[in-house]
């Protein structure tokens, strides 16, 4: 990998540039992940699901809310309804694609929120140390005493059904996990020489945390956070499946799975479709996260 690609040999300006210029850490990571077939396949699948969810109103699909009593529970492959219809006669294809909008938001947003909150808490706890560290980390320990599924259901069960409550509940579940990772990587770099040098040259604690520490720890926290998206997707849809998240008639995969459960004796495979979407997104995020982790592990 030390040789320049063949096309670059004819490219005079590129040759003139120092060879190390394109060999930054993130450039190497990006190049490694672009070569990983599994990761790229997952990225393509996710991209397709994301784009079709965003563009769903302009794809010429049926109205996902409009039902009809005379065409309920059509089978997969029915003319005009390639994926059949649901228990109220609504087009499954349209509902699955529209369903991506809410499902992806309630699945991914909690991880993004927890990433922001958990990284800040862990960074402060790890850098400042002392009593503040004890206070933050012992609080985190308390949340570790609950299995995450139980905690998510307990909080959203107490708060009551609703999209916002389910996002809040899942954020609370993930903040302690990210905080713990952020704290441990921060403690790892806190006493390194370059931090000491920054302190000696008069940098304040906020600057040191933001410039010198965050840059070094953000990568590993980010990889950890991406590995949580799969769990979060399953849990968010699970809350809706229990009736604690989205409310009808909103198209959302977990809720669709719940309302279609009554139809499994009539039209079983249509009833199973929304779960296949959750599975696809969840496994793609898992594989992508694995790929990212090994791409960032440059030593191997």
């Amino acid at each position: 990998m030390t040789e320049l690609p063949l096309s670059a040999a004819t490219d005079a300006p590129l040759q003139a540039a120092p060879a190390t210029k394109a060999r930054g850490y993130w450039a190497t990571v990006a190049r490694r992940i672009l070569r990983d077939k599994v990761s790229m396949a997952c990225a393509v699948v996710l991209l397709l699901i994301f784009i079709s969810a965003i563009l769903s109103p302009w794809l010429g699909l049926e109205d996902p809310y409009k039902g009809s009593m005379i065409r309920r529970l059509r089978h997969i492959g029915t003319a005009g309804y390639p994926l059949g219809t649901d228990e109220l006669g609504r087009d499954m294809l349209a509902r699955l694609i529209y369903g991506g909008r809410l499902s992806l938001v309630i699945g991914i947003l909690p991880v993004i929120l927890a990433f922001g909150i958990g990284t800040s808490l862990g960074l402060v706890a790890g850098y400042v140390g002392g009593k503040l560290n004890t206070a933050i980390m012992r609080t985190v320990d308390v949340f570790y005493a609950f299995p995450s599924v139980l905690l998510a259901i307990a909080i959203s069960g107490a708060l009551g059904a609703g999209i916002l409550n389910s996002i809040v509940a899942l954020t609370i579940v993930f903040v302690p996990q990210i905080t713990r990772v952020a704290e441990s990587v921060t403690t790892g770099v806190r006493n390194m020489d370059f931090v000491e040098a920054a302190r000696a040259s008069g940098a304040g604690p906020f600057t040191i945390m933001r410039v010198h520490i965050l840059g070094n720890v953000l990568g590993s926290i980010f990889v950890y956070a991406t590995s949580l998206i799969s769990v979060s997707m399953i849990l968010a849809a699970g809350l809706s499946f229990l009736g604690l998240g989205t409310k009808p008639p909103e198209p959302e995969w977990g809720l669709m799975l719940n309302t279609l459960r009554t139809a499994i004796y009539v039209n079983p495979w249509v009833a199973a479709l929304p779960g296949a979407m959750i599975f696809a997104v969840s496994i793609c995020f898992n594989l992508l996260s694995d790929g990212l982790r090994s791409a960032m592990d440059i030593r191997n």
Binding site: A145, P147, G160, L244, I264, A272, G275, N286
Partner: protein, 317 residues
């Protein structure tokens, strides 16, 4: 060893109290009046105040928590608003069913996970490894409530081999170890086992790879030990960590069974939790979560102690 156990137990006490506090506060983050489930819609102010005093909701929060904790220590978690029966008895009856399910799932998940993990780790980077690893990743990525539905579709709806819901013939709630009851356990147990299966596979695969690359394995082979003997050493070295991982997974299964129990109408603690949530039965909700969380803390403690007992290096740390 005893000193280590004592230290671990002392460390658990503040955790238990904080867990109780979280469970207690859960009821108080609930929007609306906690009496909403018992109070008739047209109740007078007087009746509401009376009931509030009867349930102790009129006192300051710290006092309420102290009294609640004191009663909980005596095994009194209050009465269910919906049924009027003591919460603890209801929860313990349901937990029994959940434990049955979790143990069955643990046996399946652990056996499969260790087998797949050993094979994958031994045949690293071959198609066998790739197959086992894909299986493991699918296990941890699948929405298990959906997997439960798919299994019901295949084995109950299409093939009609196994029952789809319940824990016994004719809606019976009492468990027995005979085939009539075991048939009901098969699908929920397989569904529950996929997550621990995936996690144990990944752990054991990594462990096997690490152990096989160590010098002592080289030495064993050099002295002429056959591969089966080498394998036995690998298993011995991987066992403590694999068991610890499985112990934690057992805790997750006990606490996280609500989705699967809902799919299969399995009369366990998750099913109870579900009805507590939708009937807004707050004492029952609080009690169920407390008991499940305490089980989880206890299991964590046991895993730590067991690991220290197996591996003497841990105690010194």
């Amino acid at each position: 060893m005893l000193a280590y156990i004592a230290r671990r137990i002392v460390y658990v006490i503040p955790i238990v109290i904080s867990v109780a506090l979280v469970c207690f506060l859960l009821v108080h983050i609930t929007p609306g009046d906690p009496l909403v489930a018992v109070l008739p819609a047209d109740a007078s102010q007087e009746l509401a105040a009376q009931l509030r005093a009867a349930y102790g909701f009129d006192r300051p929060l710290p006092v309420q928590f102290g009294l609640w904790l004191l009663r909980a220590l005596h095994g009194d978690l209050g009465n269910s608003i919906a049924t009027g029966r003591p919460v603890l008895a209801e929860v313990m009856r349901a937990v029994g069913n959940t434990v049955t399910l979790a143990l069955a799932a643990a046996i399946i998940g652990f056996t499969m996970g260790v087998l797949l993990g050993l094979i994958a780790g031994y045949f690293r980077e071959t198609w066998i490894d790739k197959l086992a690893t894909s299986f493991a990743i699918a296990g941890v990525s699948v929405p298990h409530y959906w997997l439960g539905m798919v299994l019901v579709i295949i084995f109950s709806v299409e093939l009609n081999w196994l029952p789809a819901v319940g824990a016994g013939p004719n809606g019976s709630n009492s468990w027995a170890w005979d085939w009539a009851h075991l048939r009901y356990l098969v699908l929920p147990a397989i569904t529950t086992s996929v997550i621990p299966m995936g996690i144990v596979t990944r752990t054991v695969r990594a462990l096997t790879g690490d152990i096989l690359s160590q010098d002592f394995v080289e030495a064993l082979r050099a002295k002429g030990l056959h591969e089966r003997g080498v394998f036995r050493h690998v298993i011995k070295n991987a066992a403590p960590t694999a068991l610890a991982v499985m112990g934690l997974q057992l805790g997750y299964m006990l606490g996280g069974s609500i989705l699967i129990e809902t799919v299969f109408s399995w009369p366990g603690s998750g099913f109870l939790l579900n009805s507590a949530i939708f009937q807004r039965d707050l004492p029952l909700l609080q009690g169920t979560i407390l008991v499940l969380a305490l089980f989880f803390v206890l299991l964590n403690l046991l895993v730590d102690i067991a690991q220290a007992a197996i591996d003497p290096r841990i105690k010194r740390g």
